[in-house]
Each structure stands twice: as structure tokens, then as C-alpha cells.
Subunit: 209 residues, 2 copies
Amino acid sequence: MRKIAQRDDIRDLILDGVDALLARFGFRKMTMEDLAREVGIGKGTIYLHFPSKEELALAHIDRIAERLLLRLREIAAGPGSSPERLRRMLLARVLHRFDSVTHYSQNLDDLLSSVRTPLLARRRAHFEKEAAVLAEVLRDGCAQGVFCSAEIRASAQALVWCTNSLLPFSLSARELGERDELEQRVTGIVDLLLKGLLRRSPGPSKRRR
Amino acid sequence: MRKIAQRDDIRDLILDGVDALLARFGFRKMTMEDLAREVGIGKGTIYLHFPSKEELALAHIDRIAERLLLRLREIAAGPGSSPERLRRMLLARVLHRFDSVTHYSQNLDDLLSSVRTPLLARRRAHFEKEAAVLAEVLRDGCAQGVFCSAEIRASAQALVWCTNSLLPFSLSARELGERDELEQRVTGIVDLLLKGLLRRSPGPSKRRR
DNA sequence: CTTATGACCATTATCGTATTCTGGTCATAA
DNA sequence: TTATGACCAGAATACGATAATGGTCATAAG
């Protein structure tokens, strides 16, 4: 009987194991015994921290979402103009998804289909938090007169939804293409979206033609 | 032995049958005998018009795409300003997809997974044609000075890609939500995209604040 | 007393096989 | 020349027997 340093530590260790096995085998082929062996603890111990295999997977997904949220907050608090930060955030969201899909490869479908129903509500919650961070930056931009100030909340949600769509999880890794290519395509759309948000006539207009 | 009126007529009749059976049973459970019975011809006759079941499905998908293309051309040639027409076209694309997904319900996954590989190339071709029509309207707008004239081709492709993403076929009908709700959400994004395309400082700016 | 463990069990998944079904062909009919 | 359905090889399915797995809990360790 080994003494576990901290309650949260072992939770994280287990989730690390989940991450490894999920990428290697997918959800269905990852057994609780595999996982216990990977982490180096007994199977029963896992059930002291998670009530079921499904909740385990959901907790793992939550952790991924939290990391993305952290990254978005970093960017939001970081340097750059409001549109620049927003642009980086949107790109980060899509690339984060890209990395997830490639990391879990075919096994992502397996995971998602196994926990699809309970996942929907959680995703909504994640998306709302992310939209909230986007909204902050939008508000920043409004305060500086860069963005027009109408419909901030709705705009943020639209941006979240759109960037979700740009790389649906359901894509298999095989159909993704190169990361660079994706980045380029997404950048085009994101720029278009941002331009749409910008305030009309931003300063002394130099009319051409 | 019944005399078929016209070669194209029977082709269309068969595809009508495909449409009906696909919606009812999906691709795998739709048998060639079912289809022959539905259309009221012998099984062998189908093979006089289509080389295989797979090609049959692809032809059916082609026909759907052609109808959408027709609709887009209608809108493009119809009344309204360039941005208005563009907006209608983008919305039409998404709603067209919505209708497909709801029409074939669960059975769409079945169809798509059964012909996924050969479908990819065809979809690319369809998308290019659709992008070409969008590009026409964009060019119209440029000629009138509504849109900025850079990157028309790329913009059209971006719009196609983005509206594709807004409603991936892989969504099951169950997750779609209401058509009205979709229309509303998509309208928001489409408007954002269009605003991004508009030319800056379009006339005497009335600066607020 | 709290925390960790793995043998244990009911349920689920997997596999092998016997059987049915179905895409595609073609000799025959109209 | 055009249409048809009996026919066949190979694919899908149904099913029962067997193996694997999620979750529990009495026991052990600290």
C-alpha cells in the first residue's frame, strides 16, 4: 500500500494514464486493468477517484478543455491589440482541436461515440466559458473603439461556433491534411470574421478610386 | 418488356427510387431488388444504366449537388444587391445541407461511410463549381464598388469551406436542432463574413461617439 | 480509522461457424 | 436492341459458446 502524495496528484496521474492509453488503444480497448497497470496502482484505487469508466473519460475531456481555456486566458491577458489577440485565440482554438484529433487519431471517434450523450451538455458549458473569454477581448476592443459594441455576447458565441465548425471532431485524422495548410485556410476565415467585427470607418478614411 | 420512354427518364426514375429507399433504409439495407421493385423494373435493367451500386449512390449525390448548384445560379441571377444575393446563397447552402441531413436522418452516415473515399474527389469538384458561382457574385459586387476586389477566388473558396463547416454532414439529425434556430445562428455568421468582405469606408461615414 | 488492493461476479464483448442474403452476370425473352 | 430474373460467389448476419471487462467489496496495509 503506497501512500499517495496528494489527492489531486493521483487524479492527474490517472488522467495522464488515460491520455496515453486513449491515444494508443481508444476508449473501448482501454481497460481499467490496463490503466491501473499503466499508472502503477490497483484497479480498485481508480474507483476511489472516479465513479466509472465513463466519468473518467469525461474528466479527461474536461481537463483538455480546461487547458484550452487556460491558453485562451493567457492570450487574452497577453500583449497585442484586441483584434490581434482575438485572432490568436480563434486560431488557437482550431489548432487545439487539430492537435487533439491527430493525437488520438482514429481512436477519437471511439471515445466520442462512447460518451456522446453526456458529453453534449459539458461541451456546451466549455464553449460558454470560452465564449466568455472571447467576449472580454471583444469588450476591450469596443472600449478602444476598434470593434463596434453591439451584440458582444452573440458575436463571441458566433465565433466559438464557427471555429468549432471549422474543424469538427468527427473528422478522422486521415482527412485533416497538413497543419500548415489548415492554419492558412483558417487564418483566411478568421480574418474575414474579424474584419466583419471591426468598426466601420476607423479613423480618417483614405478613400481610393 | 416495357418500352422506356427516354434514356434519361429512366435514369431519373431510378435515382428517385434511390432517394426514397435511401431515406427509408439507408445505403446498406437498400438492396438492388428493393430498388428494382420500387421503380417497377427488373434488377438487370438497373445495371444497363449504372455499373454498380456504389456508382448509383454517387450519381444520386451528384444529382443533389446539381440541384443545389442550380438553385445557387438562380439566386445569383436573381434580384437584389450583390451582398444580398451572396447572403441568400450562403444561407441556401447551409439549409440545403440541413434538409439533406434531416431527409436521410440516421441513414446518411451509412451512405457516406459506404462511399466515403470516391466521394471526396467529387465533393471537391462540386465545391469548386459552387465557389465559381459565388465568385461571380463577388465580382459583381466588386464592379459596383461594394466589395473590395482582392482575392475573389480565395474568398469564394473560404465562404464555401466555412458554410460547409457550419453544418457538417456527419451530424446526426438528432443533434441538429430546429431549422429556425440554425438559420438564425448561421445568419449571424454569414453577416459577419459578408461585413468582412465589404469595402472599407463605403461613402460618407457617420461616425458615432 | 483511513486508504489501497485484486479476487470475484454479472454483464458484455468477441469469436467461429452455419446460414441467409445480395451485388452483379448472363442466357433467354420480348 | 433492350429488358429480365434465375443463378452464383462472396459478403453479411444470426447465434451460441467462450473470453474479457467494468465495477464491488472483503481483506490487507499503514
